[in-house]
């Protein structure tokens, strides 16, 4: 009988964080709905949070874990500002997709 014991190492989490960050980046680049783009940016920030926690654990240093709280606050503030701008746009027009927002080009 083969005993398969996989103990997750720090590398796993770092790779997971990198993959999440990649998904977020891809999402911002290909999706056209501003709300989904916000979500992708949030995903990127949370991927960074995961890296911070993992690296802090690896370095046995508590600073990396406290940084995560700062990042969470910033992410929350970003959502407030972003949604505020989207609401302001929605008042002027019925739908918002990034393709509709093409008045500015040169």
């Amino acid at each position: 009988m083969i005993s398969l014991t996989l103990v997750p190492t720090a590398t796993w989490y770092l790779v997971l964080a990198a993959v999440l960050f990649g998904i977020g980046t891809f999402g911002v680049l290909v999706r056209r709905n501003p709300l989904v783009m916000f979500m992708c940016i949030e995903l990127m920030l949370n991927a960074v949070n995961l890296s911070f926690v993992t690296l802090a654990r690896q370095l046995k240093d508590v600073n990396g874990q406290t940084i995560v709280f700062f990042v969470m606050v910033v992410a929350a503030a970003e959502v407030v500002v972003g949604l505020g701008i989207v609401v302001a746009i929605m008042r002027n027009r019925s739908s918002v997709t990034a393709d509709d927002l093409a008045e500015l080009k040169g």
């Binding site: 960050f21 920030l45 370095l59 746009i89 008045e103 040169g106």
Partner: protein, 514 residues
């Protein structure tokens, strides 16, 4: 319980050294609170409150400047912030741009019939973020400053709720800015993983202390790269500049002036501080990248500006090429291996200060001449025959444009000369030559605006009507006139007497390290 509280000891805080931040914060909060509790103030008073706050901050900064001259640079708040001449000079530039832009905004909002306090509050919070960024000695503090600055700027860009272009600009700026912040933060995380610290000074110590093992080096280099990408978005370096023309065009013109001055200065100075303080030992790795970014930014910025028809887009690309010039200084600084980055650092500081005055002055005139709300948009046609209608205004614009082009006897020449001199001093001739060629190409753009002002004939058949309407509306209100006068005065005085500014920079290369 009590003993627990007494044993807690936070870092010692030198309150006077952070007084500019406190002044700006107090001004922003008071303006917002009192402004929303009291009925509409008389016209222009919100702007005056903002100007007073910025002036108080500048006075504190000048007092601090004297302190640093006497007792040398130092670190504040447990090593989170640096107090040195480099940071102070950039801080003064940021506060001055708040001052000038508030003057211009006051008239602009009166013209649009929407004089409200929040815009000025946002200017002041942006300045807080900027002051934190230019002094940050910790990557996380830098990130917090960057977000304070950026979130305020997104709102400012979208602040005109009647115009959809403004909101579109705000949303574009927000999405690309948030995207860039995430990249920057990922770079911080990886650097932290490789070095075990986020303090710039400590990172440098760690990197110099041992020859790092290969795994750490990969992590570190990826981290540096991601941080550079994040910064490149913020200061709009090619190929990360796509948002710049759209945002500059869509945002209300005084806000454009503010984004182009404060936003850019803060990000550039922070970029320089991070790379010079934390990673001088890896200069061989990031130096070539900065070289390529700088060359691309210079060439694309000046060439693409030529084909633009919209004044604000034209100036947006010109600001892109200015960022390229500042990077030439950073590239020069990368050739020095120690923290003493020499001429490059001085060149960057001088360029940043003079650029702030130039760009605010130029956009102030654009605010007067070109109407955001007009149907034909902000095309170059608005400048046709300005010399006949408003000779003084056309003259001021000419001086500012000549300075942007780097013509001798103006501050722009001092700035460009310093940068190119620094590049030549360390032997990066290729970049110096590229910079000079691009300066000539960019001069063509400024020449186009000047030709349109002085030579273009306005009596063509279809433009007579619009000419008649614009000729009565190009008035120069008092506040805007004052701002333009200050900008032109700085441009000419520094152009004729560069030593007034250059004498201040003698201790500039000593960055705070303990």
């Amino acid at each position: 319980m009590n003993s627990d509280l007494t044993t807690f000891a936070g870092p010692a805080i030198d309150w006077f050294a952070v007084s500019p931040l406190i002044a700006l914060l107090a001004g922003a909060l008071l303006l917002l609170l009192v402004g929303s509790l009291t009925p509409q103030w008389p016209r222009g008073w919100y702007g005056i409150a903002s100007v007073i706050t910025a002036s108080v901050a500048i006075v504190f900064l000048i007092l601090l400047w004297r302190d640093v001259t006497n007792s040398g640079p130092k670190l504040l708040v447990g090593g989170a912030l640096a107090l040195d001449h480099f940071a102070l000079l950039a801080s003064i530039a940021i506060c001055s741009s708040v001052l000038l832009v508030s003057l211009v905004t006051s008239d602009y909002l009166a013209r649009e019939n929407s004089d409200l306090p929040e815009i000025y509050s946002l200017y002041l919070t942006t300045a807080i973020g900027g002051l934190v960024m230019v002094a940050a000695n910790d990557l996380v503090v830098l990130f917090l400053g960057l977000e304070t600055l950026s979130l305020s700027l997104y709102l400012l860009a979208a602040s005109n709720r009647k115009r959809t272009e403004s909101q579109e600009a705000g949303l574009k700026y927000f999405i690309l800015g948030g995207f860039a912040s995430a990249f920057f933060l990922y770079g911080v995380a990886l650097t932290y993983g490789a070095t075990g610290s986020t303090r710039l000074v400590d990172i440098n110590v760690v990197l110099n202390a041992y020859i790092s093992v290969p795994r750490n080096d990969t992590l570190l280099l990826v981290g540096i790269g991601l941080m550079l990408v994040g910064f490149a978005f913020k200061v709009s370096l090619v190929p990360f500049h796509a948002w710049t023309p759209d945002v500059y065009q869509g945002a209300p013109t005084p806000v454009t002036a503010f984004i182009a001055s404060s936003g850019k200065i803060a990000a550039l100075v922070a970029l320089v501080r991070v790379f010079i303080t934390a990673f001088p030992s890896r200069a061989d790795d990031w130096g070539p990248v900065v070289f390529v970014l700088s060359a691309l930014t210079l060439v694309v910025g000046s060439v693409v500006a030529i084909v633009q028809v919209d004044v604000k887009r034209m100036l947006a690309y010109s600001s892109v090429s200015h960022a390229g010039f500042i990077l030439v200084g950073l590239e020069a600084a990368s050739h020095r291996s120690s923290a003493d980055a020499g001429d490059g650092l001085i060149a960057i500081a001088v360029y940043v200060v003079l650029y702030a005055a130039l760009v605010v002055g130029t956009f102030s005139i654009v605010t007067l001449v070109v109407r955001d709300s007009s149907d034909d948009g902000t095309t170059l046609d608005a400048f046709k025959g300005l010399a006949k209608r408003r000779p003084q205004l056309a003259l001021a614009m000419t001086v500012l444009l000549l300075a942007q082009a780097g013509v001798p006897m103006t501050s722009g020449f001092v700035a460009k000369f310093a940068v190119i001199q620094a590049a030549v001093a360390v032997g990066s001739y290729k970049l110096a030559v590229i910079a000079m060629i691009c300066a000539v190409i960019a001069a063509f753009v400024y020449l186009r605006i000047m030709v349109s002002m002085w030579i273009s004939d306005t009596t063509t058949s279809d433009s007579t009507i619009s000419d008649a309407t614009t000729s009565e509306t190009v008035e120069v209100p008092v506040f805007t006139g004052a701002a333009i006068t200050i900008a032109v005065a700085i441009t000419l005085v520094i152009g004729f007497f560069p030593s007034l500014l250059l004498d201040l920079t003698t201790n500039l290369t000593q960055l705070a390290s303990k």
